[in-house]
């Protein structure tokens, strides 16, 4: 149960601040599950699988920057796969992703396609330069792209792409991205909340369901073990989109 030592086999740049790291271990994860990645001497942080043996990381702070400094051949410690994963349901599915949150959806899409499902994707990015996994999603099926600055696809936030779609066409909807983007989507698509699975983010300390730092009001859902994938109807009745706790357990605004 100690961190497994894993060598980074390959590093691929996806966008200026986003890189994919291929690990020497295939831990047989389900899409939506995550790893705790120990960057030795720095910190241990949660990362979704973007493939059976890859994670796709956006550099945002100390630990992710330190990870970026580790090239192929360096090693990290791994705990996982952890948490629940997405559950594939039905024949036609819709993936809605934002930014680096597209990572677990790309992995899910690969599996769905392999299982013969029809996959449609709606992806939102800040701008053309931040785009990742475009080809990967396009290979899965219809792909709608939005950019905040209009540099590619529809201009606006991901929700601007909703009007191109009839959500009743889909048996299941899968969602991952910045919290405000996800909130934007699920609050606009309330009638589909029961068929929407969202992979969410909270501050994880233990990732074992014991410390309480990731618990969601008002039910106290331990996102690290009961999530990170939760049904949107449950999120609608929670703190999600309204506030989130920081490392000290204090309530703060949701970013993104």
């Amino acid at each position: 149960m100690r961190p497994i030592n894993s060598v980074i086999e390959e590093v691929r740049s996806e966008a200026p601040l986003i890189r994919t790291f291929r690990l020497d271990k295939n831990l047989d994860p389900a899409p939506g599950q995550y790893l705790m990645v120990w960057i030795r001497g720095v910190d241990e942080i949660p990362m979704s699988f973007s493939g059976p043996d890859t994670i796709t990381v956006q550099s945002v702070g100390k630990a992710t920057q330190a990870l970026f400094h580790l090239g192929a051949g360096s090693s990290v410690g791994l705990r996982g796969p952890l948490g629940n994963g997405f559950i594939l349901r039905g024949k036609r599915i819709l993936l809605i992703g934002g930014g680096v949150g597209t990572a677990p959806l790309a992995f899910l899409g690969d599996q769905a396609k392999g299982a013969g499902m029809a996959v449609t994707s709606l992806l939102g990015f800040r701008s053309k330069d931040d785009l990742i996994f475009q080809e990967r999603f396009e290979a899965l099926g219809d792909t709608i792209i939005t950019t905040d600055d209009g540099s590619l696809g529809i201009q606006g936030r991901a929700s601007s792409g909703l009007k191109e779609l009839n959500l009743f066409d889909y048996d299941q909807i899968y969602l991952c991205g910045p919290e405000m983007m996800m909130w934007d989507i699920i609050s606009r698509t309330r009638e589909h909340a029961k068929k929407t699975q969202a992979c969410i983010n909270r501050y994880f300390k233990c990732a074992a369901g014991i410390c309480g730092s990731c618990c969601l009001d008002p039910e106290g859902v331990r996102v690290c073990v009961e999530g990170p994938v939760l049904m949107a109807d449950r999120l609608l009745e929670s703190e999600f989109g309204r506030y989130r706790r920081g490392p000290a357990g204090d309530k703060g605004p949701c970013r993104g």
């Binding site: 149960m1 100690r2 961190p3 030592n5 705790m36 120990w38 030795r40 001497g41 720095v42 910190d43 241990e44 942080i45 090693s75 410690g77 705990r79 300390k205 233990c206 990732a207 074992a208 369901g209 014991i210 410390c211 309480g212 730092s213 618990c215 969601l216 009001d217 008002p218 039910e219 106290g220 331990r222 706790r245 920081g246 490392p247 000290a248 357990g249 204090d250 309530k251």
Partner: protein
């Protein structure tokens, strides 16, 4: 079924199986959930006078038969925490606020400001500089902190003791002299683990506390030593993970037990333990009171 309700350490509890400090105790909602799942009482995450983010990760690590942790007392400060306590109370079980500070006055200030059903003084965390066992290892400090909090608070005060000492009884007697309504034993054992691939200490803070099954025999011994000599009740904690463990701890002299690491198995642990305990008492035709401290009366 025999009654499990007890009066211990100044509190009336529906049952003697409590949630331990620092376990799913960061938010009012998770505390409330523990109470609804059957905890006889819930202890909050330890809170101090200023916000702390805690140590860098890894903050926990599964080791042989136990857990190592070095959370580093993350908390939003007592000022932010009152609302969590209110939320927690909705669960229907007493909410015991665990508090820490670096001096008697800091402890007293928190106790004066925070409202809870009782206070548990964390004089025992083994991995936070200037706090916890760095005070709690000295009997005179245990006594003065306890006295200061007793003077400031109008609810029961429990003192949580460290096993990282040559003589836990000395610490328990100090708490009693300070006016404590009960002692809680034990906090974690100071410990560490090293990554053999690289030599890095695994915990972000290098040192942490060992909890879980591994420490139960140490906890049982501490409870036994304390209960044989103290006049105030002892709340037993350390490695309790099934009803048999709770029976053992109560036989050692615990009036109530707390469950920490076993929450890894989920909230169902409270019902599992209370049900097992009831059945045991029924089979043995005993009351909780008769069970408490039985081992001390079996000296041959």
């Amino acid at each position: 079924m025999p009654s499990l309700s007890i009066h211990a350490g100044g509190l009336d509890l529906n049952n003697p199986v409590l949630l331990a400090a620092g376990i799913l105790g960061t938010t009012g909602a998770s505390l409330c959930r523990a109470a609804r799942a059957g905890a006889g009482g819930v202890v909050t995450k330890s809170v101090g006078s200023v916000p702390r983010e805690g140590h860098p990760g890894p903050t926990i690590l599964h080791v042989e038969c136990g857990l190592l942790n070095a959370m580093g007392l993350p908390n939003p400060s007592y000022k932010e925490f009152q609302e969590e306590i209110e939320t927690a109370r909705a669960g229907g079980a007493p909410v015991i606020a665990s508090i820490f500070g670096s001096s008697p006055t800091e402890f007293a200030q928190i106790a004066r400001s925070l409202k809870a059903d009782a206070f548990e003084l964390n004089l025992s965390c083994p991995h936070a500089e200037k706090y916890g066992s760095e005070l709690g290892r000295y009997p005179d400090l245990v006594e003065s902190v306890t006295g200061a909090v007793k003077a400031a608070a109008d609810v029961p005060v429990w003192v949580k003791l460290t096993p990282n000492t040559a003589d836990i009884l000395e610490l328990g007697l100090a708490a009693q002299r300070g006016g404590a309504d009960g002692v809680v034993a034990i906090n974690t054992l100071k410990a560490m683990a090293i990554d053999i691939e690289t030599g890095y200490p695994i915990l972000g803070n290098r040192f942490g506390g060992l909890s879980g099954q591994a420490i139960k025999p140490v906890a049982v011994r501490c409870v036994y030593e304390l209960a044989s000599r103290l006049e105030i009740p002892v709340i037993g904690v350390g490695g309790v993970s099934c009803w048999e463990d709770a029976v053992e701890m109560i036989m050692a002299g615990a009036s109530a037990v707390q469950v920490g690491t076993a929450l890894l198995k989920g909230y169902g642990i409270f019902e599992e333990i209370t049900t097992g305990l009831s059945r045991y008492l029924e089979r043995k035709s005993m009351t909780l009171e008769e069970l408490c401290g039985l081992a001390g009366r079996r000296r041959s």
